[in-house]
């Protein structure tokens, strides 16, 4: 037995999106996505929560140095998404609907190569009432 320790960290970014797919008719888009399909999009203040695991280094007491984790997340996620349109500015969402489910998967894919610890899961809060989690396949 023994204990597994994970480090959790929260970040924030604001972005706009529009839920709409060319694979459906305008009527179907409106029926499925409702207001989220409005043509000019809308935005959210997203809260991203990530958990990483690994051995706690006895010299530092840390799974990963926060400065390393923060700069990695800043470069891979925050700079790419913050104050951007997910549909227009993020290549992954040119063809994929930027729901928060898909956003979780995209963020997981971007962060899983963090070299100093193992990415366990990402959780994205779209509003205080909606949150989504992805822990890889």
């Amino acid at each position: 037995m023994g204990v597994k320790v994970e480090l959790g960290r929260r970040y924030r970014f604001a972005a706009s999106h529009r839920l709409h797919t060319d694979q459906l008719s305008e009527e179907e888009n409106a029926r499925i996505f409702g207001k989220c399909a409005n043509p000019y999009g809308h935005g959210h203040n997203y809260v991203l929560e990530i958990s990483v695991s690994g051995d706690v280094d006895p010299a530092t007491g840390m799974i990963a140095n926060l400065a390393d984790l923060d700069s990695f997340v800043e470069r891979e996620v925050i700079e790419v998404f913050d104050c951007h349109s997910l549909n227009e500015d993020v290549a992954a969402f040119r063809k994929t609907v930027p729901t928060t489910e898909n956003l979780c998967i995209e963020i997981f894919e971007r962060l899983k190569s963090f070299p100093k610890a193992k990415l366990e899961r990402v959780r994205v809060q779209e509003t205080t009432n909606n949150s989504f989690e992805y822990a890889g396949k």
Binding site: V3, K4, E6, L7, G8, R9, Y11, A59, A67, E120
Partner: protein, 138 residues
């Protein structure tokens, strides 16, 4: 199985310093957290116990009992203390969120006899926390 979570808050000071490293290395690795006189946080601790509700009482465990365990094991040890100097279990360790959470897990795990300790989550701030689980449980 049902999970039950109790939350407590405590305030404590700490600093990050490894005597095996040079002053410059300590500064580089730990940054402001290496300031010699320390600094403090309001810690929030969430303790989650897993179990089946007792058919008579409807409880996984008596919350009053959990409250007393948390008071004795955590509050009396850590609240309004300097973690580096006053908490025996942290002697020789850097009192990071990871290490404090693990020490709390190890203190609580044998004391919880109704149900089973499932998770210890310790927030150092709203944006930084550590989780502990039983190895293999997650």
């Amino acid at each position: 199985m049902v999970l039950i979570t109790r939350k407590i808050e405590f305030s404590a000071s700490h600093l990050y310093h490894n005597p095996a490293l040079s002053p410059e290395e300590n500064r580089r690795v730990f940054g402001k957290c290496n300031n010699p006189h320390g600094h403090g946080h309001n810690y929030t601790l969430e303790v989650t116990v897993a179990g089946e509700p007792d058919p008579v009482t409807g409880m996984v465990l008596d919350l009053k009992e959990l409250k007393e365990i948390l008071e004795r094991e955590v509050m009396q040890r850590m609240d309004h203390r300097f973690l580096n100097y006053e908490v025996t279990e942290l002697k020789g360790q850097i009192p990071t969120c990871e290490n404090i959470a693990r020490v709390i897990w190890e203190l609580l795990e044998p004391k919880i006899t109704q149900g089973q300790l499932h998770r210890v989550r310790l927030y150092e701030s709203a944006d930084l926390f550590a989780d502990c689980y039983r190895n293999g449980a997650r």
